[in-house]
C-alpha cells in the first residue's frame, strides 16, 4: 500500500518539478534570483537528509535482529537529522525573504517556494510518523520483530529523500551548468 502512496506522491512531485522547469524557461524568470541560492549550505543539509536515510536503514536492520535499544537510538538520530534539515530549510527561507524573494515577488519565488515547501511539508509529515513510532517503541510495541510498520514507514522516508535528491539536482545543481 505504501508503495502505491509513494507512487501517487511521486506523480505529484513530478508535476511540481516540471512546473519549476517550465517556469525557468519562461520569459518572466529573473536569473539573479537563482544566484541568491547558496548551494554550499544547502548541500550540507542535503547530505544530512540523505544520511538520515542511512541511519533509518540501520535502525530497521537492528529492529529485524531484535535489538530494540539500538532501534531507539538510531530512530532518535534519524529524527534529529530530519529536524536539522528542516531547520536548514527555515534558515534558507529566512535569508531569501530578507533578500526580498518571496512567493509573490517573482516566478522564481513562486515555483521555488511551492516545490521546496511541499517537500518540507512531506519531511515534516515523515518526522511526525517517525516520532509516533519512537513513542510506541518506548511502550514496548515493537518488541516482536514481526511487524512491518517500520519497513513501511521506511518506504516513505526513503522516498522523501529521493525526492529531495531530484529537487536539489534540478533547483541547485543544474543551474550551475546553465549560462544566463
Amino acid at each position: 500500500m505504501m508503495k502505491l502512496v509513494v507512487g501517487t506522491e511521486a506523480m505529484f512531485f513530478i508535476c511540481l518539478i516540471l512546473a519549476f522547469i517550465y517556469m525557468a524557461y519562461n520569459t518572466g524568470f529573473e536569473p539573479h534570483d537563482m544566484k541568491a541560492l547558496d548551494i554550499k549550505t544547502t548541500g550540507i543539509f542535503t547530505v544530512i537528509l540523505i544520511s538520515s536515510s542511512f541511519t533509518f536503514w540501520i535502525a530497521d536492520k537492528n529492529y529485524q535482529k531484535g535489538k530494540i535499544k539500538n532501534l531507539k537510538i538510531w530512530l532518535i538520530i534519524t529524527i534529529l537529522l530530519g529536524a536539522t534539515f528542516l531547520i536548514g530549510q527555515g534558515e534558507e527561507y529566512w535569508r531569501l525573504m530578507n533578500d526580498k524573494i518571496t512567493l509573490s515577488s517573482s516566478v522564481f519565488g513562486t515555483s521555488f517556494y511551492a516545490l521546496t515547501g511541499f517537500h518540507g511539508f512531506h519531511v515534516f509529515a515523515g518526522l511526525v510518523l517517525l516520532s509516533i513510532i519512537l513513542v510506541l517503541t518506548f511502550f514496548d510495541d515493537f518488541n516482536n520483530t514481526n511487524s512491518n510498520v517500520i519497513s513501511t514507514a521506511g518506504i516513505y522516508w526513503h522516498f522523501v529523500d529521493v525526492v529531495w535528491i531530484a529537487v536539489f539536482t534540478v533547483v541547485y545543481v543544474l543551474p550551475q551548468f546553465t549560462k544566463y
Binding site: M1, L4, V5, G7, T8, E9, M11, F12, I14, C15, L16, A19, Y22, M23, N26, T27, G28, F29, L103, S104, S106, V107, G109, T110, S111, Y113, A114, F118
Partner: protein, 551 residues
C-alpha cells in the same frame, strides 16, 4: 472435487459494524461496511445528478429561444461551470466508485475491502468536498470559469468572488478521496482474492476497476498539484498562472489535461467493465475474447497519458506537437474499438434476453460509437480548429459521458439492483424509462452536432436569431426536459421497487460470477464459504456441477 474455501473474518468487528441495526442514520454514518459505503456513494451520485440536471435544465430554458434574458450572463457562467464540475466529480466519479467498492469484494469472494476505515474516510471526504464546492453559492458566488477552469479566467483579477477557491478546495478533497479509494481497491484485489482466482481469471468488471485504479492514482496528482498552485496564486499572490507577472496560462492547461484526459477514461473503464458482465449474462455466452478485452484496457490506460494536448490544438503548440497528439488520439480509438467488436461478438449467436439492463448496454454500443467517432473527428487538427469551442464539442462530450458512462452505470443499476436490495427494479416501467431517456438524450444532443457546425459557440449565455439556431435549440431544450422527466421517473421506479418490488432471490439473472452466490442483499459477512475458483465463470461451473450430480 468441489472443495469450498472458508472465508476468513476478523475475530472482532471493526468499530462501526458493531452498531446495532435499529440505530438508523447513525448506523449508516458510522459504517465501514463496503456495501453500505457503496450504496452511499450511489446515493451521493443520485443527489448530485438531480442537482446537476436541474442546472442543465436552467441552461436549456435560457437557450430555448434567441436573445433570452431568463438568466444573467454571470448566473449562466456559474451554472454551466457547476453543471460540468458536478456531473464529472460528484456524479460520474461517485457512481463509478460506488459500484467498484460494492462489487469488487463480492466478485472476488472477499468479505471486506482491505482498509475498511479508509474506505469510509474516502466516502466522507468526497461528500464533504462536494458540499464545500456547493457552499460557494452561499459565500458570494459559484466558480465561473468552466469545469476545466482555464487560466487566466481562474485568476483573482477575472473572477473576484470566492467561487474558484471553493472549486479548488472542494476538488482537492474529492481528489484525495478518489486516490485513497483506488489504493484500497488495488490492495483488495491483490490480496483478498479467493483461492484459485488468478489475476487472469478476475471478472472483467474487477479487472477494469484494477486497471482504472492505477490510472486514477497516476492522473489525480496532476490535478491536485494544479489546484494547489491555483490556491497559492489566488490566496498568496503567487504567479504560476498569472501571465502579467511572468507566469504561464499554458501551464494550467497542460497540468489540467494531463489529469483531464485520463479522467475521461477513469469514468469510462468501470462502465466498460459493467458491460463486460452484462453482455455475457444476457446473451448466455461467455465473453468473446476475454484476453483482448482485458489487455485493451491496459492499452487504453497507457495511451491515456499520451493524448492530453488534443484538448489544446487551438493553443498553437506547433505542427510537430499537434501531429503527435493527433496520431496518438487516433491510436487510442483502436483498443476501444476492439472492445466494441468483442461485445458485439459476444451477442452474436447468443440467446439474448432484452432486459432493461441489456437494452442500456446495447444502446451504449450505438451512442458511445457515435461519441467515439465524433472524437476521432476531433483528433484531425483542422477539423478541431474549425469546431473547437462550438456545440459540436458539447455534443461529443455528452455522447461519451452520457452515452458511455451514464448508460453503463444505468445498465449496472438495473443489473445489480436486485443484489443490492433483494428487490427487482420494475422492468415494465424500466422500459418506459429507457425509451424516454434515450429519446430525450438524442433529442438534446444530436441536433447540437449541427449547431456546432453552424458555428454556435459554447459557453455564451445567449445567441442571435440566425437561420436554424432557434429551431435546433428549441428541439434541444425539449429533449432536455424529456430527459429530466425520465430521470424523475427513474427516482420513482427506484423508490417504488424498494418499497414493494418483486422479491429477487439470490440469482435472478442466472449469473456467472460470485456476487450471485450469496443472498440478496448480502449479509454483513458476505460469504461463509466459496467454492474453489477454477475458471473465469466460477458460479457457472458450480451450477454445472450441481446439474451433473443431479443426473
Amino acid at each position: 472435487m468441489n472443495q469450498s474455501i472458508q472465508i476468513p473474518e476478523p475475530a472482532s468487528p471493526f468499530p462501526g459494524i458493531g452498531v446495532s441495526s435499529d440505530q438508523g442514520l447513525l448506523q449508516w454514518i458510522s459504517s465501514v461496511d463496503h456495501k453500505m459505503i457503496g450504496i452511499m456513494y450511489l446515493l451521493i451520485a443520485l443527489i448530485f445528478f438531480l442537482i446537476g440536471g436541474a442546472e442543465a435544465l436552467l441552461m436549456r430554458i435560457q437557450l430555448g429561444q434567441p436573445v433570452n434574458h431568463f438568466l444573467t450572463p454571470e448566473a449562466y457562467d456559474q451554472i454551466f461551470t457547476m453543471h460540468g464540475t458536478t456531473m464529472i466529480f460528484l456524479v460520474a466519479m461517485p457512481a463509478v466508485l460506488g459500484f467498484s467498492v460494492y462489487f469488487t469484494p463480492l466478485m472476488i469472494g472477499a468479505n471486506e475491502m482491505a482498509f475498511p476505515r479508509m474506505n469510509s474516510f474516502s466516502l466522507w471526504i468526497t461528500f464533504f468536498g462536494g458540499l464545500l464546492l456547493y457552499f460557494s453559492f452561499l459565500a458570494g458566488g459559484g466558480p465561473d470559469a468552466g469545469w476545466f477552469n482555464y487560466s487566466p479566467l481562474n485568476e483573482k483579477n477575472y473572477s473576484s468572488s470566492n467561487g474558484i477557491d471553493y472549486y479548488a478546495m472542494g476538488l482537492l478533497l474529492t481528489g484525495i478521496g478518489s486516490v485513497t479509494t483506488s489504493i484500497n481497491l488495488i490492495v483488495t484485489i491483490l490480496h483478498y482474492r479467493v483461492k484459485g482466482m488468478k489475476l487472469n481469471m478476475l471478472p472483467l468488471f474487477v479487472w477494469m476497476v484494477f486497471v482504472n485504479s492505477f490510472l486514477l492514482i497516476a492522473a489525480f496528482p496532476s490535478l491536485n498539484a494544479a489546484l494547489a498552485m491555483l490556491l497559492l496564486d489566488r490566496q498568496f499572490q503567487a504567479h504560476f498562472f498569472n501571465t502579467a507577472n511572468g507566469g504561464s496560462a499554458l501551464l494550467w492547461q497542460h497540468l489540467f489535461w494531463i489529469f483531464g484526459h485520463p479522467e475521461v477514461y477513469i469514468v469510462i473503464l468501470p462502465p466498460f467493465g459493467i458491460l463486460s458482465e452484462v453482455f455475457p449474462v444476457f446473451s448466455r455466452k461467455p465473453i468473446f475474447g476475454y484476453a483482448f478485452v482485458a489487455a485493451s484496457s491496459v492499452a487504453i490506460a497507457l495511451l491515456a497519458f499520451g493524448v492530453w494536448a488534443h484538448h489544446m490544438f487551438a493553443v498553437g503548440l506547433g505542427n510537430t506537437v499537434d501531429a503527435f497528439f493527433s496520431a496518438s488520439s487516433m491510436l487510442i480509438g483502436i483498443p476501444t474499438g476492439v472492445k466494441v467488436f468483442n461485445w458485439i461478438a459476444t451477442m452474436y449467436g447468443g440467446k439474448i434476453k432484452f432486459t432493461v439492463s441489456m437494452m442500456f448496454a446495447i444502446a451504449f454500443l450505438i451512442e458511445f460509437t457515435i461519441g467515439g467517432l465524433s472524437g476521432i473527428a476531433f483528433s484531425i487538427v483542422p477539423i478541431d480548429w474549425q469546431l473547437t469551442d462550438t456545440y459540436y464539442v458539447v455534443a461529443h462530450l455528452h455522447y461519451v459521458f452520457i452515452g458511455g458512462t451514464i448508460f453503463g452505470v444505468l445498465a449496472g443499476l438495473f443489473y445489480w439492483f436486485p443484489k443490492m436490495t433483494g428487490k427487482m427494479l420494475d422492468e415494465k416501467m424500466g422500459k418506459w424509462f429507457f425509451w424516454l431517456f434515450v429519446i430525450g438524450f438524442n433529442g438534446t444532443f444530436l441536433v447540437q452536432h449541427a449547431l456546432g457546425m453552424l458555428g454556435m459557440p459554447r459557453r455564451v449565455f445567449t445567441y442571435p436569431d440566425l437561420p436554424g439556431y432557434a429551431i435546433l435549440n428549441l428541439i434541444s431544450t425539449m429533449g432536455a426536459f424529456l430527459m429530466g422527466l425520465s430521470v424523475l421517473l427513474l427516482v420513482y421506479i427506484v423508490y417504488k421497487s424498494i418499497k414493494n418490488g418483486k422479491a429477487a432471490g439470490n440469482d435472478p439473472w442466472n449469473g456467472f460470477t460470485l456476487e450471485w452466490l450469496t443472498t440478496s442483499p448480502p449479509p454483513l459477512k458476505n460469504f461463509d464459504e466459496v467454492p474453489e475458483v477454477k475458471s473465469r465463470w466460477p458460479l457457472w461451473d458450480l451450477k454445472q456441477l450441481k446439474e451433473e450430480s443431479r443426473k
